[in-house]
Amino acid sequence: MGLSDFFSDVVSSFGFTEAQAEAPVQDTETETTTQEEPAEKEESASVESVETESAEETPAEESSEEAPEEEEAEAEEEEEEEEEEDEPEDIKPKLEEECAHSAVCAPYKHHYDECVERVTRQEEDEDYKGPKEDCVEEFFHLTHCVTACAAPKLWRELK
């Protein structure tokens, strides 16, 4: 008993912080309230303005078209921001494009381009009766080189 108590005391004296699965309650509450409040205010404000300006004739959806220019501009800006947030651009194709044009993968790129050109010419030519060809192998070599080149760069960008 005495020995185990001694060891547990020694361990606890180091002050390791235990990882908690549950987030602290107070912080989350404050965060959620702060996040929700402005959103609610904006919504209520926009609804009020719409109602006051054209409450008589048209329903709310149509009235937004007739709303003043300033509000439209604001709305457009908001929409654009939302779109940007909703559809972030993937960096992987861009990195691979850069890698495909780099000196490392240049031979593979050259072979693949040449193959594509040859095969498309064969397909378009109706009189061609040679063996049927595809560029899968060339594509494999190019893709292998390109992804291997882009992998560390990609991982630096991803979370």
């Binding site: 699965a21 549950e22 987030a23 909703d86 559809e87 972030p88 651009e89 993937d90 960096i91 992987k92 693949y112 193959c115 594509v116 095969v119 498309t120 064969q122 397909e123 049927k132 060809e133 595809d134 560029c135 899968v136 192998e137 060339e138 594509f139 494999f140 893709t143 292998h144 992804t147 291997a148 992998a151 560390p152 990609l154 991982w155 991803l158 979370k159």
Partner: protein
């Protein structure tokens, strides 16, 4: 000290002498035999050596070179090695990534792929809280035990339930997916050559258009990483398909990375604990080794520090 060194020196000298004698005797004997070696012995040895070399060459000729009947397209493109953080021996899973990955599974993969070996409870504490997981479990209905009249009713899910499959059986899954069976994802990172790299490459590797001349069957999609390159699953991860709750930009590769890490967790949920055990074992073994070194020194101390002194008897001089 002096006495000891004298003793040693004399011992060595004796040993050397006796060795020298014996070797000299044997070498002279061998030399005499070699001189009188008959021709048939040399011939036999040479023939045996030639036969050994010949049979080895024949074997290599027959079986040495493997025949590759498969084309690269049938093998599938070998997945690139990505620098996964959780695969390092001293790193754990990124649990924020696991949480995002489960969200991707829930919103994207779960419509076709089952995850039948993972219970809701196993995610409590690793990526979600108890209340969140209870809410997820209660969204699904499960069969009850037969009641007093023998009828089986439905009840909301509990933490101890396993994640329900999208299809009741394989036939239903095949019928709904044009004959292709979406595999269960519980152990998929262990069940595929290439593991995490393969799945990440598969998810992100759909090219915009198949390379020229490649034959893609109807209802199939071209994916270089899938053996045969024709895969029934279309590309599912597009930028912004999922909206992460922690604000991470949901790009295709980000979602693929997260869901692969989640699937790796579902295949080996014990990984964090296993690495912790490994560090524990290293700590214990180094401690034991240090103890053994000290104990050895303690036990050998009397032997290492002893001194043998020869004091010759003092007799009368001759």
């Amino acid at each position: 000290m002096l006495g000891r060194s004298i003793l040693r020196a004399s011992n060595r000298a004796i040993a050397r002498q006796s060795l020298g004698k014996s070797t000299r005797a044997s070498s002279t004997a061998a030399g005499a035999e070699a001189a009188s070696s008959p021709f048939y012995l040399t011939l036999t040895a040479a023939l045996a050596t030639a036969a050994a070399a010949g049979s080895t060459a024949w074997y290599y000729h027959l079986y040495g070179q493997e025949a590759f009947a498969m084309t690269p397209a049938e093998e599938g493109l070998h997945a690139t090695q990505y620098p996964w953080v959780h695969e390092r021996f001293n790193k754990t899973f990124d649990h924020a990534a696991l949480r995002r990955g489960f969200q991707v599974y829930r919103e994207v993969c779960a419509s076709c792929h089952s995850l039948t070996r993972v219970p809701w409870r196993s995610m409590v504490g690793t990526m979600h809280t108890v209340d969140e997981m209870k809410a997820f479990a209660e969204e699904h209905e499960y069969d009850t035990e037969p009641n007093s009249e023998g009828n089986i009713e439905k009840r909301p899910g509990k933490l101890s339930d396993y994640i329900p499959a999208p299809y009741p059986n394989e036939e239903a899954a095949r019928a709904a997916n044009g004959g292709a069976y979406p595999p269960d994802l519980s152990l998929i990172t262990k069940g595929r050559h290439g593991g995490c790299n393969y799945i990440f490459s598969l998810l992100t590797g759909y090219p915009d258009e198949p390379p020229a001349g490649a034959a893609v069957a109807e209802g199939m999609n071209f994916n270089p990483y899938f053996p045969g390159t024709g895969i029934a699953m279309g590309r599912v991860l597009f930028d912004g398909v999922v909206e992460y709750e922690d604000g991470t930009p949901a790009t295709t590769s980000q979602m693929a990375k997260d869901v692969v890490e989640f699937l790796n967790w579902s295949a080996e949920p014990e990984m964090d604990e296993r690495k912790k055990m490994g560090v524990k074992a290293v700590a214990l073994l180094t401690g034991l080794f240090a103890v053994s070194v000290w104990v050895k020194r303690y036990k050998w101390a009397p032997l290492k520090t002893r001194k043998i002194v020869y004091s010759p008897p003092i007799g009368p001089r001759r």
